[in-house]
């Protein structure tokens, strides 16, 4: 249960010109579940490894419980880490794997036994304690890795893509288990993943990274509702947000040959920021596009031909085009055929505007205040 502060942390690998992690600033509270998310090579794992002490910190300060940890050996940082490939000790039984760190700390045997058995009970590993890792399935191995971290009762849990080696079904199951575990143990957790679903479902706050730089920090809802730039908007949410070129006058929004009427507040944003009648990028989430079963001709609808319709079960993904971009819509109708001509409506209350060049979000000033506070 610890507070972690990272100040201007930078990482430069030997023989490398550029910084792998550029100026990382984050303050993590007690019991928070922080997820570092981003595409591969964005520096998220490096950041985690610097916190663990497995990589040197080139510049900046790492504070755990207000103590500077930069030069403290990994074993003295009171952290436990779960690795992507589990990193179990293959020559030891499950029990010994979990008990090992405690044995090194010279904790007495009955205490070790108590803690290992308790962890095994929580994780459902009781009947496997005498087995070697070789004789376990992927999910069980992952649970042993978690158990090994749990018994140490560390100040901080670090997890480096712990679920990416599991199959989809097991992954969602373990996702819920880790969340449950976090609520139960209440330990500060830093979790690295490239999977936005894991980030959205587990995090108390998400840190989105790209090219070694933090793009946005916020709760899952904040980063979903108020992405600060096109990268974050495209990364969070599945399927990805649609990005479409458009221009907006003080009366209507123009996409290709189509014109739409959009809410006044939205026009107001463009007006105050000086983007009226300029080319902008429009961001529309697939789930904000709806199928209109009856032919209507509203100011927010358009008629289109569906290129591909993918049935997902309770909903469909429709691939079509709007202006000169492809458009993906997630609709509730499940009976739309490929090539069918239908009417779609866009919920313009939920659209986002981005600068065409900087790709930053276009927002009114009081809105940006709101984001920076959170």
């Amino acid at each position: 249960m610890a507070k972690i502060v990272m100040k201007n942390i930078k990482k430069r690998y030997k023989n490398s010109e550029s910084l792998t992690v550029k100026d990382f600033n984050l303050s993590i509270d007690h019991k928070e579940f922080i997820v570092l998310v981003g595409p591969s090579g964005c520096g998220k794992s490096t950041t985690l490894r610097m916190i663990a002490g497995l990589e040197d910190i080139s510049e900046g300060d790492l504070l755990i419980e207000e103590k500077r940890m930069n030069d403290v050996a990994p074993k003295n940082r009171d952290i436990a880490m779960v690795f992507q490939n589990y990193a179990l000790y293959p020559h030891m039984t499950v029990y010994d794997n979990m008990a090992f760190a405690l044995k090194i700390k010279k904790i007495n045997k009955s205490e070790i036994d108590l803690r290992v058995k308790e962890a095994a009970k929580i994780l459902g590993l009781e009947e496997y304690l005498k087995r070697k890792p070789k004789a376990l399935s992927g999910g069980q191995r992952q649970r042993v890795a978690l158990g090994r971290a749990m018994v140490r009762n560390p100040k901080v849990f670090l997890m480096d893509e712990p679920l990416s080696n599991l199959d989809a079904k097991l992954r969602s199951q373990m996702r819920a288990e880790i969340s449950k575990l976090h609520r139960k143990l209440g330990a500060t957790t830093i979790y690295v993943t490239h999977d936005q679903t894991e980030a959205m479902t587990m995090a108390s706050r998400i840190v989105i990274m790209k090219d070694g730089k933090i793009q946005q920090i916020g709760t899952p809802k904040e980063v979903y509702d108020h992405p600060v730039n096109r990268f974050v908007a495209g990364f969070i949410g599945s399927p990805s947000m649609n990005f479409i070129s458009a221009t907006c006058s003080d009366t209507a929004l123009k996409i290709g040959d189509l014109t739409f009427t959009i809410p006044k507040e939205k026009i107001e944003i463009l007006k105050t920021t000086g983007y009226l009648n300029k080319k902008i990028t429009l961001g529309i989430r697939p789930e904000d596009i709806h199928h209109e079963p009856k032919e209507v001709n509203d100011s927010n609808t358009f008629e289109t031909t569906i290129d591909v319709s993918e049935l997902m079960g309770s909903e469909s993904l429709l691939y079509t085009s709007l202006g000169d971009s492809t458009l993906i819509a997630k609709v509730n109708s499940t009976n739309i055929a490929n090539g069918e001509k239908i009417t779609l409506s866009i919920d313009f209350n939920k659209i986002h505007f981005f600068d065409k060049d900087t790709e930053e979000v276009i927002q009114s000033t009081n809105q940006s205040k709101l984001i920076s506070i959170s």
């Binding site: 663990a52 990193a87 000790y89 293959p90 700390k105 070697k132």
Partner: protein, 283 residues
């Protein structure tokens, strides 16, 4: 796929042919050790001796005790055991430390070091025979078991380092990192994790080194001239001298010399075959 009876027959026929080819010399060797000198020296070829005898065995264990011109086989056997075991232990200790460092730590000249050990291995041993002899002679280290141990260690190290660093590299790094986080030191990681996990590789390497030094003849024959320091390969060769060929002793010596490697291979085959590293990562 089920095999027909015919197919099975031919497969076994092939197996039997290979077995005869590989085992026949050994069977002949065993028969010869149980034959008398007369049979072995006779011009007509016998498959089985005219009479069976254990004389070769009783002779070889007392060799040299009455006749100073015959090498004392027991002494040579003892020397060989000392030399090959010491070589193996010394080589493994150095190679384990060296290859762990090479496989895990980054330092200047790392690749150069690794390549130069390999390059050293490329030099034919015979090219180094005379220079090494001169050096050792200057230091008065001829006729000394420890000089053989040193030379064998030097020649076996490149191979052992290459073998072991391959094994060490296959161990996932994250397992070691996990151990560091659990509070183990670098040396502790080596002893508690790397050694037990790569035990099969270490034993296999050790057996190769042991056999190489057990079988070595060239250096031993040049570097030793007293019975106190001669190894078994040299002793066997000296059962035959100018004007005198003692087939019986030579063959019996050969049989006895080949027993330890066979026993070792049987004893450790489980380790040589199995890979203990399985299961650490996703399987």
């Amino acid at each position: 796929m089920e095999r027909t009876k015919n197919q099975q027959f031919f497969i076994y026929l092939g197996v039997i042919a290979v077995m005869i080819f590989t085992l026949a010399p050994i069977i002949l060797l065993i028969i010869a050790t149980l034959s008398s000198g007369q049979d072995l020296n006779s011009k007509t070829l016998h498959f089985l001796p005219s009479h069976w005898t254990l004389k070769n065995f009783t002779d070889i264990f007392t060799a040299g005790s009455n006749d100073a011109s015959v090498p004392p086989f027991m002494q040579a056997l003892k020397n060989s055991i000392i030399v090959s075991l010491s070589t193996t232990v010394l080589t493994l200790i150095i190679a384990i430390l060296a290859s762990y460092a090479i496989s895990r730590f980054r330092f200047k000249g790392q690749n150069g070091l690794l390549m130069s050990t390999l390059g050293f291995r490329m030099v034919p041993e015979i090219a180094l025979l005379i220079p090494l002899f001169v050096i050792f002679a200057r230091f008065g280290a001829i006729n000394n078991l420890s000089s053989l141990i040193l030379i064998y260690t030097a020649f076996n190290l490149p191979f052992a380092i290459w073998m072991l660093q391959g094994f060490f590299r296959s161990i996932p790094k994250s397992m070691e990192e996990s151990a560091y986080l659990d509070g183990v030191s670098s040396l502790g990681v080596l002893i508690r994790f790397i050694l037990p996990i790569s035990l099969s590789g270490i034993i296999a390497t050790g057996i190769f080194v042991l056999l190489a030094s057990w079988d070595e003849f060239m250096f031993a024959s040049i570097f030793t001239s007293t019975y106190d320091s001669k190894t078994i390969t040299v002793a066997i060769s000296e059962f035959s001298k100018r004007g005198m060929v003692n087939f019986g002793m030579q063959i019996t010596g050969g049989l006895i010399a080949s027993l330890p490697p066979i026993v070792l291979a049987l004893l450790f085959q489980k380790f040589i075959v199995s890979g203990l590293s399985e299961g650490s990562e996703k399987g």
